[in-house]
Symmetry: C2
Subunit: 331 residues, 2 copies
């Protein structure tokens, strides 16, 4: 089996310039329209299926990495020092392990998220993508987007989709070392498209995605049909994007999200992220659509809801969801 | 293909005594612990899978049937005359069509439900089971429970489980005419078992079960795995009942209900019966269980929640759900 460090070193070894004092990177968060749920390789974060996301433009992460004195990494999140035993610092240090020139080599990491952490807004995706970019900047590797995507994926699967703006397809790939499993931007622009983030709960998730996926793959009979469902949804979504057909995009996206949450609910023991407020928001969307408003939703592995609509309908959407944070993915 | 009238006539022809002035029947509602979702024969209401329910004792239906002058059936529900074009009268008359000695022969039906109609409390199950019993009483056919179960099923699938108290397994059967698809009581008593009905919404369902099942069978990829899931859950539930293992019964029941609602949500277009109050009730159950209360839930094709617990915990359950209607299925 290939380890993540072997993959990382294969990509970066023999490249680069003398390291800078600090490297910086930023990356957008992304919201999957066709979801990623289930790994075929836990070590390398290789997915069972492809997925397709839209990046959130200005919402995402900024990371600065620099060599540090030690005797351990110094990890900051939103200007707060992170305890070394906490989840955030442990994941960051484990990722840095893939790149340390030698054991006992330490880094200082300053990360800043402009999205709520760990509540379904994929801050880990933008965080690891920004980290890969910061390391590339620090060491002057000059890596391609595809290589950065592979490196980002080693930190968090969905980070593979956070290297670019716009619509990004994460190819599942089939190589055991995952070199063909990376994000690629679709050649499509949709300036009128809007994503609305409705934060219903900013608390940490009761079951993390990594653990939840593993449980679905191992215990949910329905999971056997998930790859076929995703293949059908990916084809339909790419077609909708090519035609700029909002109703088709909304229908596939909403249906795929409900199917992923269905997988979770049929897992043993069941995983249910929805809160009463989640169902209320879903029903608000359905009622509005019934009355002619072209509005759809999606949900990640969490209770929050993201809305999909076009610019012309923003005022009506804000009327329905006063606290919504609206993003124009195409600027 | 065998028609429902052929099946009905095959069972009743050549039997019986001169008809009485009126026939009467009553039947309990039943709540499936392992669910029925999907038909292999729409005409005869033959299911794809078996299912297993608990009857609700005093909650159910009473029906009185008598010959009437015409020129059409006269259908009453809870003392109110039902419009002939309404869903209730149309279904009742279509069922009576299976038994009329000749065209132009009319009946008067007086039905009374002691459960809310069409809100997931399976009033159609107890209604058709009571109707089959009332016709048996009217004509003096002297049918067996098994034969009555087959006749009741021709009106509504889950009515096959409403001929008896206690735990009833509906055998899926394999015969094209469905003569081997009937409900059978399990030889188990569980006097301490309690079912609590929490009515969150008594409105009609937006998508009826018949239409919803058809849509799942035709469009939901996950449906291919449903028969395997049901087979596993049926085996586990029968084992739990035999051992009177409340935690095992609760776990299977709750998981199977969530898996059925998962099937519905992954159907195209999606079917979601849950209301915000449904999720709130689920979370109340989970929070209470976390604190040691042995309490589980199930949900039929509707937004309401039914609770499963034992008599010793009734006071605590009533504390959590003040409006709960508690039933002792074993009297």
């Amino acid at each position: 089996m290939t380890t993540a460090r072997e993959v990382a070193q294969r990509i970066v070894s023999g490249r680069g310039l003398p390291e800078e004092t600090a490297g910086r990177g930023r990356a957008p968060a992304n919201i999957a329209l066709v979801k990623y749920w289930g790994k075929r390789d836990e070590e390398l974060n290789l997915p069972v299926t492809g997925s397709l996301s839209i990046s959130l433009g200005p919402l995402g992460s900024e990371v600065e990495v620099s060599p540090a004195e030690g005797p351990h990494d110094a990890i900051w999140l939103n200007s707060a020092p992170q305890p070394l035993t906490g989840v955030f610092a442990r994941r960051a240090s484990a990722y840095l392990d893939l790149f340390r020139p030698a054991p006992g080599y330490w880094y200082e990491v300053k990360a800043r998220n402009t999205v709520p952490t760990a509540a379904g807004f994929a801050s880990s995706a933008s965080g690891f993508a920004a980290m890969a970019r910061a390391l590339d900047d620090l060491y002057g590797w000059g890596l391609s987007i595809r290589e950065l995507s592979v490196l980002a994926r080693l930190g968090s699967g969905s980070a593979a989709r956070s290297l670019q703006d716009g619509f990004v397809e994460w190819h599942a790939g089939s190589a055991p070392d995952g070199m063909d499993s990376y994000g690629e931007r679709l050649p499509a622009e949709w300036p009128e498209l809007r994503m609305g983030a409705v934060v219903l709960c900013a608390a940490e998730k009761p079951v993390g995605s990594r653990e939840g996926m593993k449980r679905s793959v191992e215990t949910c009979e329905f999971y056997r049909e998930w790859p076929g469902r995703v293949a059908a949804d990916l084809a339909a979504l790419k077609d909708a994007i090519a035609r700029k057909d909002m109703a088709a995009l909304g229908t596939v996206t909403e249906g795929n999200a409900l199917a992923m949450h269905a997988l979770m609910a049929a897992t043993r023991p069941p995983i249910v992220y929805a809160l009463p407020e989640t169902v209320a928001a879903m029903r608000t969307v359905w009622a509005a659509r019934q009355e002619g408003l072209p509005l759809w939703f999606t949900m990640d592995a969490g209770p929050n809801v993201k809305l999909l609509f076009e610019a012309k309908d923003e005022a009506r959407v804000r009327g329905l969801f006063p606290g919504v944070q609206v993003v124009a993915p195409f600027g």
